[in-house]
């Protein structure tokens, strides 16, 4: 279940850049997502986009 994770975590960091930088400093495998609020943070629009995604 989690064996592969515990053997070698390979991380996708979404949010605080600082956490990605710390992971890189530790020699970890990490990529960063330059996250922005989807649909400009408009919750209604976000729901609509999510629905479209599922189609």
């Amino acid at each position: 279940m989690t064996m592969e994770l515990l053997r070698k975590p390979k991380i996708i960091n979404v949010g605080a850049r600082n956490f990605h930088d710390s992971l890189i400093a530790q020699g970890a495998d990490s990529v960063h997502v330059d996250w922005k609020p989807p649909a400009g943070g408009d919750q209604e629009m976000m729901k609509l986009l999510d629905k479209l995604d599922k189609l």
Partner: protein
């Protein structure tokens, strides 16, 4: 006084990064206040309250990054604004130079990085569940650092994860260590055979740091504070426990949490007793008898949990630690402090950055000095009416939302200004007898917390001295010599400022109680 602003359309930066910019700008000459924030409605309200809401910022949207400077003169404000532009440009340049691949969305990252197995999420709470669900649907384990996720979402995500065999650590999971890699707020620990599952981030930090001086840590899996609520049912703790049971590198297990609901406690303890590896359980403030009954090892404090895990690994009989230094030395240190206290100084003031440290210290101290008031009290009747004012023995958890919601004032493990103010406030109170603190090191924490606090602590002692009092300060530093801040160097900075530095939060609380009772608590503690 002049207020100037700059609006950067459709620019998003995370709050920790923005706080660092704000802080750098506030250090510039002539700058009273600087705010680099996203122009959300809530942030605009805060700017209005601070008298910093310019017309330009009023018109900005939540998608825009704004920089607002309140400076002594218009020239200074303009200088600071261009300083901010410089910092942002420099950061963008660094990314280009490093030729780093940066993804725009989680979906694109999952698509391009099929080997990835864990998504670390620290976006604002209202968006975190959405990203976590995408990660789980993409087949990835998840750590949600963000708080502000509803319990309903937590249950839904954890059930989805369980169905897919994926671990959901959090929401509000501050700390994890996976095969030596620290995620979120984590210390640099020695690799070894002890595995930890913890519902508290600072709890995990204290236990892993202390065990690092002994046999070392295999993994520390976080669950988030609500995992052991009835409604969530301990899904993450049970999965974490199973992971450590299956992990050949883990020989001893430590479980850390506040007391769970009886139903969840039963389920967890039963699962733990079936693992077949020695397991130490610390349900902070809970009843140790139910743990003992099924042949697991109860621990009363975080340090006690670490000490018992270390003893088990060495094949020794676990014993309780009250003070780890020579007892005469401890007694002398306390005496030196309390001999100088005046008759009107009566109360301990605990000023904490870690919520679990605050709770643990209250549990220890209440048996020795009596009731402790708090913004996060052990009993409802001990809740402070005004969290900003101490009453009798008061321990405040400055990581609570009420303190961190102010603009540009993130967690006290990163930013010390609010704690510094509180220290000086309590130092001015003639009834304050001892100030008690935690200092947390590791990745994610402030780069030099002792260096930031030491001048304030010196000032606090001077304030008391000017009014004819002596003010003892007791602290413990949670961390390791391998941390970027270096435990030994941090402890020295505090000692040089006249602080009594103890090797654990539990021992610091006992030392404070010893000073506050002028030694009377000794027999109760040591017997």
């Amino acid at each position: 006084m002049a207020v100037k602003s700059l609006v950067l359309k459709n620019e998003y930066r995370d709050s920790i990064f923005l706080m660092r910019i704000s802080k750098k700008l506030e250090e510039l000459e002539g700058v009273q206040k600087a705010s680099a924030i996203m122009a959300t409605d809530a942030n605009k309200d805060l700017l209005r309250d601070a008298g910093m809401l310019t017309d330009e910022v009023k018109g900005a949207s939540s998608n825009d990054l704004v920089i607002v400077i309140d400076a002594a003169s218009s020239e200074r404000a303009v200088e600071a604004i261009s300083g901010a532009e410089g910092i942002l440009a420099e950061e963008a340049m660094k990314r280009v130079e490093e030729a780093e691949v940066i993804y725009k969305t989680l979906d694109s990252a999952i698509g391009a990085e099929p080997e990835s197995n864990l998504v670390l999420i620290s976006v604002p709470g209202e968006f975190a569940a959405r990203e976590a669900e995408r990660a789980l649907r993409g087949g990835k384990h998840v750590m949600i650092f963000s708080d502000g996720v509803s319990e309903e979402d937590e249950i839904r995500l954890k059930r989805l994860g369980k169905e897919k065999g994926l671990l959901v650590m959090g929401p509000d999971c501050g700390t994890a260590i996976i095969n030596g890699i620290g995620l979120g707020f984590a210390n640099v620990v020695k690799r070894g055979p002890v595995g930890v599952v913890a519902a508290s981030g600072t709890g995990a930090q204290e236990v892993t740091s202390l065990i690092s001086a002994g046999p070392g840590i295999s993994h520390a899996i976080g669950t988030g504070g609500r995992d052991l609520h009835d409604e969530v049912g301990g899904i993450a703790m049970l999965m974490g426990l199973q992971s450590l049971a299956d992990d050949p590198g883990t020989e001893i297990i430590v479980l850390i949490s506040k007391p769970p609901s009886p139903e969840v406690a039963k389920r967890i303890l039963k699962a733990a007793s079936e693992v077949g590896k020695p397991t130490v359980v610390n349900f902070l403030g809970g009843d140790p008898k139910i743990i003992e009954k099924i042949n697991l090892i109860p621990a009363v404090t975080l340090e006690d949990a670490a000490a018992k895990a270390i003893a088990l690994q060495r094949g020794e009989k676990p014993k309780r630690v009250t003070f780890s230094a020579d007892l005469n030395e401890v007694k002398n240190t306390a005496e030196k402090e309390y001999k100088r206290i005046g008759p009107n100084q009566r109360y301990i003031r605990g000023i904490y950055s870690g919520g679990t440290f605050c709770s643990e210290a209250m549990l220890i101290v209440r048996d020795l000095v009596g009731d402790v008031y708090s913004n996060a009290p052990l009993k409802p009747k001990l809740k402070l009416k005004d969290s900003n004012k101490s009453k009798e023995h008061t321990f405040v958890d400055m990581g609570e939302d009420e303190f961190t919601a102010e603009i540009g004032k993130p967690h006290p493990m990163i930013y010390h200004e609010l704690r510094q103010k509180r220290i000086l406030q309590d130092a001015s109170d003639p009834e304050t007898m001892v100030i008690l603190l935690d200092v947390v090191l590791g990745y994610g924490a402030h780069e030099d917390p002792a260096g930031a606090l030491a001048p304030t602590l010196r000032e606090a002692k001077k304030i008391a001295e000017r009014e004819g009092r002596y003010l003892p300060v007791v602290a413990s530093v949670c961390g390791t010599p391998q941390d970027p801040q270096n435990l030994t160097a941090q402890e020295k900075k505090l000692k040089d400022a006249g602080v009594v530095v103890m090797p654990s939060n539990a021992q610091a609380a006992r030392m404070a109680a010893l000073i506050a009772t002028k030694g009377e608590a000794w027999n109760k503690m040591v017997g």
